[in-house]
């Protein structure tokens, strides 16, 4: 294998693939990045036990030659050092040559690195996914889906399926749900071109969700999503992102989401968020980060008391309908939910001091956050 490639193009591709390269593994070859040079250009692959990212650098992009393949071939190159090395190379172009013993020579400007590579035949094959469960959505909608649900997953590995985000597709609507059993986030996206396709109990690990958002962070077009039994693939023209799916059955969340509330509150998202952030200064060192809201006619009183630190009280103007109510909850859950909401106004519906309450943007109902209160005596 022998190629010549524009450094900026290589840096970008390696940064993408590096996210999937294993830092530590019992399979040494997975600490490497697989490179294949063929007639169409260069293909880079990184993989760990959860995700695989594959980036293709085509020969020519927008009439500009990016990579010139003088001799085709393949190799597995040590991932961590290669990732750091390419960023530090001095020249505009990189010459990359591999001999039959997988010794790699990287040359740029007046610098020449010699690296020991691995045999590419030892690198695991990518899963082949059957293409019957396929649909596509705009990349920006995928990102907002992830941004508005991903933070609610359970982080403790012992929580099983709750460490993942549930994907459901039915009647042309894609629903994502995440919950750690203390709070829940749900986002719906219309997917008009999915026809009869329906998906249920597809559970994507929470970590994969955040990597997925980063991988397609700059994409302005649509991405294609392929769902198989144990894998999910998201791809565009140049990038393929594979993730394993979690085994197990996701709990039925519909039955725990209340349908209406006895007390309703409408107010400015930003003002409410800022008041909760201030109250959290007092509560954040406590075990459950507890703050309390007391709703009356046209205000929400926000209070927090800590035995060690002190206390805080403030009032936020709000339109309140229904019964007066006092409720305690974890401020962090509220902050994370409010930060993810883009609308100026929010609507919160309460069903009681001991039962979950629902936070939604006031102007749309495709987004829902639910918080389970803290019981106090």
């Amino acid at each position: 294998m022998k190629i010549r490639i524009a450094k900026s193009v290589l840096v970008e591709a390696v940064a993408q693939v590096s996210k999937a390269v294993s830092q530590k593994t019992t399979i040494p070859v997975l600490t490497g990045m697989k490179a294949i040079a063929d007639q169409e250009g260069l293909l880079l692959t990184g993989s760990n036990s959860d995700i695989t990212i594959q980036v293709r650098i085509p020969h020519v992009k927008e009439d500009q030659e990016q990579v010139f393949v003088e001799q085709t071939g393949s190799v597995v190159i040590p991932g961590k050092i290669f990732g750091e090395m390419v960023r530090k190379l001095p020249g505009e172009y990189v010459e990359w040559e591999v001999n039959e013993r997988y010794q790699i020579t990287i040359q740029s400007g007046s610098t020449e690195f010699q690296l020991h590579g691995f045999n590419p035949d030892e690198y695991p094959r990518l899963p082949r996914l059957s293409a019957d469960q396929v649909f596509s959505i705009p990349a920006d909608e995928l990102r907002s889906l992830i941004r508005q649900t991903g933070f609610s997953v359970a982080t403790n590995e012992a929580r099983g399926v709750l460490t993942g985000v549930l994907w459901q597709l039915e009647n042309g609507v894609l629903t994502c749900v995440a919950t750690d059993s203390h709070r829940l986030s749900r986002r719906l996206i219309p997917t008009p071109n999915t026809g009869q396709l329906s998906l249920d109990n597809v559970i994507l690990p929470g970590k994969s969700m955040s990597e997925l958002a980063k991988t397609f962070a700059d994409d302005e077009d649509s991405v294609e999503i392929v769902v198989a039994d144990h894998q999910l693939l998201v791809k565009n023209e140049h990038i393929e992102f594979y993730s394993r799916l979690l085994d197990g059955t996701y709990p039925d969340t519909n039955r725990v989401i209340p349908q209406c509330g006895d007390t309703e509150l409408i107010t400015s998202t930003r003002e409410l968020l800022q008041s909760v952030e201030r109250a959290s200064l007092i509560s954040r060192d406590g075990r459950d980060n507890v703050i309390k809201w007391t709703m009356s006619d046209d205000t929400v009183e926000v209070t927090s008391v800590s035995q060690d630190v002190g206390s805080v009280t403030e009032e936020v103007k709000a339109r309140v309908k229904g019964n007066a109510l006092g409720i305690s909850f974890n401020a962090r859950y509220m902050i994370e939910a409010l930060r993810s909401i883009e609308s100026d106004e929010i609507r919160i519906q309460f069903t009681g001091t001991m039962t979950p309450f629902i936070i939604q943007p006031a102007d749309r109902d495709d987004t829902l956050h639910l918080i389970v209160p803290i019981r106090t005596r």
Binding site: P251, M354, R375
Partner: protein, 421 residues
Amino acid sequence: MFQPADNLKNNHNDRIVMLADCESFYASVEKAAHPEYRDQPLVVAGDPTRRSGIILAACPLAKKYGITTAERLGVSLAKCPDLVVIRPRMQEYIRVSLQITGIYQSYTDLVEPYSIDEHFLDVTGSIHLFGDPYQIAKRIQDQVQQETGVRVRIGMSENKVLSKMACDRFAKRNSVGIFYLPAKELQKMLWPLPVQHMFMVGSRTCRHLQTMGIYTIGQLAQTSLTKLRSRWGVNGEVLWLIANGKNDSPVNPHTHGKPKVIGHQMTLPFDYRKLEDILVPLLELSELVCQRARMKGYMGQVVSVGCQGADFAHPSGFHRQMKLPDPTHLTDEVFEIAKKLFKEHWDGLPIRRVGVSLSQLVSDQEYQLTLFDNRETKLVLERTTDWIKEKYGNAAIMRASSLTESGQARNRAQKIGGHYK
């Protein structure tokens, strides 16, 4: 046997710490309750109907016959056929112990229960009200004797370990049962004693010390600290400090106030061989642990399970723990984890002893509710059974599995610490 009065003068900075020990506690309580046995040798025995029952306490008269605690009843009866044998009443002993604690608390707020019949008292701040240490000790001794019929022996010194040794080595051996050991008398009074008479030195430590050529407390005190540290680490340092009479731990009234762990264990009446049989006491223990946690107002985040094999010659068993996502005091949730841990770690050998405990305790005054499990409903049910048990006893309501041959709940409900209430 007392020191002259000038030894009792208390310097301004010196602490006065007492260790008050109840003489033949259970037996004394029984003698006070049964005046007719006043002049007869009396013992409290685990199970008076069996000659294999263990002597829990023997009154001074019985001890004159050579009867010692922890020997078998049969052996004692051989020494003294006229022995009065009483079945233990643990509930009553706890009541009297608390009554005695109350008496101590009228002298100082710094009272630390050390066991059912021993208390540490820091009376430094009360001395000026009563004169000198001897007078306050005498008044305490008289008042306890009068109100409960129990004789207490009081050792006094500057700190806890010295007062404990003052009691064990001197107050228990003199006629008045009171002894003050000034720290400056340490070398004269304690150092000549054999090392096994020191607090914290058991028979094994004693053997090890003797192989190092250390036979007296004084020799231990003068051994180089580095040598002891390299042999036993921190424990070596602890021994050296005790031998030199140094100990600055406070008398802490809250030692028994804030538990770190709530646990129960039981010795099974026969070898349990099948998982389904072992799960019955495991559930009973989970329930007891949760019942106590609820009563004390705690939830725990770590569940531990331990068991011991039946063949003591070939010790088997394990102790394992697991952290829960949310703190709990619900029987179902604790048992679920206990069961899981047991299934994972049990080697299949017969079991004679099991235990369950809950740690990383947090207050249950404020807790995060959850979305899926209906924990509040379960809690209401458990609080109801707690209430029934508190009012009518632990055997008043129990799970059906406790009625099987493997169940221990009924038997255990009649006992405290393995002995009859």
